[in-house]
């Protein structure tokens, strides 16, 4: 049933275009939304059994030789994600109906749903290979959705960038998964979880860890792989909200959380994951400060949140992990809402520039309320869920050390500022003039943000219920053993709370000096960041590829041939050199070589002479004659060494070949010397070396005899069994007649070819 829940999404994705075949079908999005809604309900129904440590599982064998299996497992962490995915997914499906026009929806929903299915797969897979498959599918659907407005160059290049970065990480992760499988002896996640000791003491642990983290970091846009995420904001806003804030970017976080029980707890883990997370948290928040584009602002703040999550998982204390799980949920709710609000604002006003937005509360009150509540959650004010989350994070920092606390507080400060800029700023003050005249958005578009904001409020009000329903079991999954989490809204006045008050006040203060803050920060803008490096590397790669291809695939046939001949000569010579006791001299007086007659020498000299004449001849016909002479003389050799059939054939073929040459050369140009004298010298040296190699090979081959020839069989059986005295002919038409059949086919094909080439006239049949 879990498997079905995942696959059903793909099935609907495939079929959804059919729903849009009729024009103006307003119902279809609602019908589609029923699927994630139903799934949400289904996943909620699975929560109780997950909470008691008895998650639903499903396993079918699949590609066993490779270690892949079709297994799913719905534990707390998985279900938390699945609910985020299906829940926010439901809202985004509805939201998209208002945001996009009818024509685009038919191309949009399949990919949105494909993404949803893939993401559910990631969350619920219990096999690393299976997880990887879904993982890559999220990259693909993300690619298609980022590039949704594909007529724009920016959309295409951003989509490519996101795909390349996440796929690169994905490939590293694949190697990591394989190493992990080798270390842990299985790809089944639930089985690996019980193999922690074996894995961590294995020599492959560190490479596996690093490679897997590469996958996680790229997917979750951790520094220095973060640059693709802000660029991905060219996607339609529902996509940004859903993929690039609430779900897909958290896949990396999910993976780290998922594998924490196996891989976590070591120094390497703590320093790498914690360090990268902290860095990303600060950089994301800092970069957000100077942004004025709503979506980019949110994107950078998402980076900061992802960094926070990573940091918490890296720290790995029970408190940190608890904080991580809570932040996961809280962020999904408030950031999703804010993104959708941003989309609504853009949809209505025609701009996303926060400096151009103001006083919209009066025309868009419902949106404004949703935005405000979400912003308050993000800023970490009670009684919203964001408050609980932030308090936990502050406590985590305080629990560990001062420096971490400072970093975390800075993050908190940035969050307050961003929340106000995005969720409050556009609605207060004097109404500004915008490209479009703003109205309240339709129901389909305000439903989602307000509902998400409402959920933030709900979760903040009833933390105990939320934690017993899902947070506990999710945290247990991350910790690796059963833990009970009891969340409370109010912890009393403690250091964390005091810090909260401080950050809120400071954040509000910052908001009032926002314009000067931006102008200062923009001066320090960071040009040489990883994004720049990416472009530089890509360009460099292209240049290198072009250069390499020009060098190798230059189109000069004779240089191709030179390379081939040289490789043959060098490798052949090396191989010959390696033969111990190659004694070429032995061939001269070897008993199994035949004696030399004086006319043999003459024939040999004349053959070589003819070949030389053919090479040096200034005249084509003269060269052909010399070639023919060489052929005749070779035929004589065949004759003298007992091969009359061969000799006759050679004579006949030679004459016919010569005729063909003559006939063809009549229509071809005369000999010209194109190449320079030095080229000719080089070629002469190469040819002579190759020739020398062939000579040596023959000598060695004549000298070595591993087994005697099978020919005695033909001699013995030709007459009694094949009724022929000419054994060569009997071999051709009987013993090895398949060769001959192939050979006359070659001839026949050559005939067809010659006919076609010579008779073909374009357009004439």
């Amino acid at each position: 049933m879990i498997a079905v829940s995942v696959l059903s999404v793909f099935a609907v994705a495939l079929l959804s275009p059919l729903l849009f075949r009729r024009q103006n079908n307003n119902i279809s999005p609602w019908l589609i939304a029923l699927l994630p809604l139903g799934l949400s309900a289904y996943y909620i129904s699975l929560l109780p059994s997950a909470a008691v440590g008895n998650p639903l599982t499903f396993t079918r064998p699949w590609a066993e030789a490779l270690g892949a299996s079709f297994s799913f497992r719905a534990d707390g962490l998985g279900l938390l994600f699945a609910l985020l995915i299906s829940g926010i997914g439901t809202l985004v499906v509805i939201y998209a109906r208002g945001y996009l026009n009818q024509k685009d929806l038919a191309l949009f929903y399949p990919w949105l749903l494909a993404f949803m299915g893939a993401m559910l797969g990631v969350a619920l897979s219990d096999n690393l290979i299976l997880l990887f498959i879904f993982w890559e599918l999220t990259s693909l659907s993300s690619f298609m959705l980022i590039g949704f407005k594909n007529e724009k160059e920016a959309a295409r290049s951003s989509a490519l960038q996101a795909l390349l970065v996440t796929s690169a990480g994905g490939l590293a992760m694949l190697a990591g998964i394989i190493l992990l499988g080798m270390a842990g002896g299985t790809y089944e996640i639930s089985a690996l979880l019980s193999n922690r000791m074996a894995v961590q003491s294995h020599s492959l642990y560190l490479p596996a860890l690093i490679l897997i983290l590469l996958g996680a970091f790229t997917k979750s846009a951790q520094f220095p792989f973060h640059f693709w995420l802000p660029n991905a904001m060219v996607a339609p806003t529902p996509v940004s909200a859903y993929l690039h804030s609430a779900t897909m970017v958290k896949a990396g976080v999910y993976l780290m959380a998922r594998l924490h029980p196996v891989l976590g707890g070591t120094d390497a883990w703590t320093y790498i994951v914690g360090g990268v997370g902290t860095l990303t948290m600060l950089i994301g928040g800092y970069l957000a400060l100077s942004q004025t584009d709503l979506k980019r602002l949110l994107a950078y703040s998402t980076l900061s949140a992802l960094g926070t999550l990573t940091m918490l998982i890296g720290l790995g204390t029970p408190l940190a992990l608890k904080a991580a799980v809570v932040l996961l949920l809280a962020h999904g709710l408030y950031k999703g809402a804010l993104f959708l609000v941003a989309g609504a604002l853009e949809h209505e006003t025609g701009t996303r520039d926060v400096t151009k937005l103001g006083g919209l509360f009066r025309v868009m009150p419902i949106t404004a309320i949703g935005a405000g509540v979400a912003a308050l959650s993000m800023a970490g004010l009670p009684p919203l869920f964001g408050f609980i989350s932030k308090e936990l994070i502050y406590e985590t920092g305080l629990e560990i050390n001062l420096w971490l606390t400072v970093a975390i507080v800075a993050m908190g400060l940035f969050n307050v500022f961003i929340a106000i800029v995005v969720g409050v700023g556009p609605f207060i003050g004097k109404q500004t003039k915008t490209p479009n005249k703003a109205h309240e958005v339709p129901f389909s578009m305000w439903l989602a943000p307000t509902l998400l904001a409402g959920l933030s409020l709900f979760a903040g009000m009833f933390p105990g219920e939320v934690s017993s329903l899902i947070i506990s079991s999710a945290t247990s999954s991350v910790v690796g053993e059963a833990v009970v989490v009891k969340l409370k809204l109010w912890h009393g006045i403690n250091p964390a709370f005091l810090l909260s008050i401080g950050t809120v006040i400071a954040g509000i203060a910052l908001f009032f000096v926002r314009n000067s803050l931006r102008s200062v920060l923009q001066k320090f803008e960071w040009k040489w960041g990883p994004g720049y490096l990416y472009n530089y590397a890509l360009e460099g790669l292209m240049n290198f590829a072009n250069w390499q291809t020009r060098i190798i695939q230059h189109g000069y046939l004779r240089y191709y041939l030179r390379v081939i001949v040289l490789i043959l000569t060098v490798s052949g010579a090396v191989a010959l050199w390696r033969i111990p006791s190659v004694n070429l001299i032995s061939s001269f007086n070897d008993s199994n070589t035949s004696n030399v007659m004086f006319y043999d020498v003459m024939l040999a000299v004349l053959i070589l002479g003819s070949a030389l004449v053919a090479v040096l001849s200034p005249s084509r016909m003269g060269a052909i004659v010399a070639l023919g002479a060489a052929g005749y003389l070779i035929a004589l050799i065949y004759l003298f060494f007992g091969a009359p059939d061969l000799a006759i054939t050679q004579f006949a073929i030679e004459s016919l070949t010569v005729i063909l040459f003559v006939l063809a050369f009549y229509h071809l140009p005369k000999f010209q010397t194109f190449s320079s004298a030095s080229e000719r010298k080089i070629d002469a040296v190469i040819s002579l070396l190759a020739g020398a190699l062939m000579t040596m090979l023959v000598l060695v081959a004549v000298d070595v005899q591993i087994a005697s020839s099978i020919s005695h069989y033909y001699i013995e059986n030709s007459l009694p069994l094949a009724y022929g005295r000419n054994i060569v002919n009997v071999i051709l038409v009987d013993f090895r007649n398949l060769d001959t059949l192939g050979e006359i086919t070659v001839l026949g094909v050559a005939g067809i070819g010659v006919y076609a080439l010579l008779k073909f006239r374009k357009g004439k049949e």
Binding site: L660, L663, Y723, N729, L732, V733, I744, G748, Y755, K759
Partner: protein, 139 residues
């Protein structure tokens, strides 16, 4: 450009039947003495090639009387066919089957390898003449 040589034409006309006879001779003797389908085919082609040089390709085609590509096909068919007989008898492809005929040697033993060789002969003639005629007809 028509370059008639009366002497060559007369000679070619004379040689054609003789060369063909010789070609048949080495074809039939091929199983027991130097020769066989290949060589015979080449000699026969040489005969027609000579004719085409003395006259021209068109007249040589006329004397040949059959489209050369068809000759290739027929040759291949014969060779392939000779392999089928054994398959009908449940044996492998291309196994030689022989029958005795009450004729003088070398006609007393007739078998599928000879049919095969015949195919080779015709295919070689077809191909070689396709080459030569097509090249000669190039304008």
């Amino acid at each position: 450009m028509k370059m008639d040589s009366l002497i060559l034409k007369t000679t070619a006309r004379l040689l054609l039947p003789n060369l063909l006879l010789f070609s048949l001779f080495i074809f039939i003797r091929g199983h027991n003495e130097p020769g066989g389908g290949f060589i015979a085919g080449l000699v026969a082609s040489a005969a027609y090639a000579l004719y085409s040089i003395a006259f021209d390709a068109e007249q040589a085609r006329h004397v040949l009387g059959i489209e050369t590509r068809l000759l290739i096909g027929i040759g291949l068919v014969l060779a392939l066919l000779s392999g089928f007989f054994s398959m009908f008898g449940g044996q492998a492809f291309l196994v030689g089957l022989w029958i005795d005929l009450p004729l003088p040697s070398p006609f007393n033993k007739v078998g599928t390898p000879l049919l095969f060789d015949m195919g080779v002969f015709l295919a070689v003639v077809g191909v070689t003449l396709t080459f030569i005629f097509a090249l000669e007809e190039v304008k």
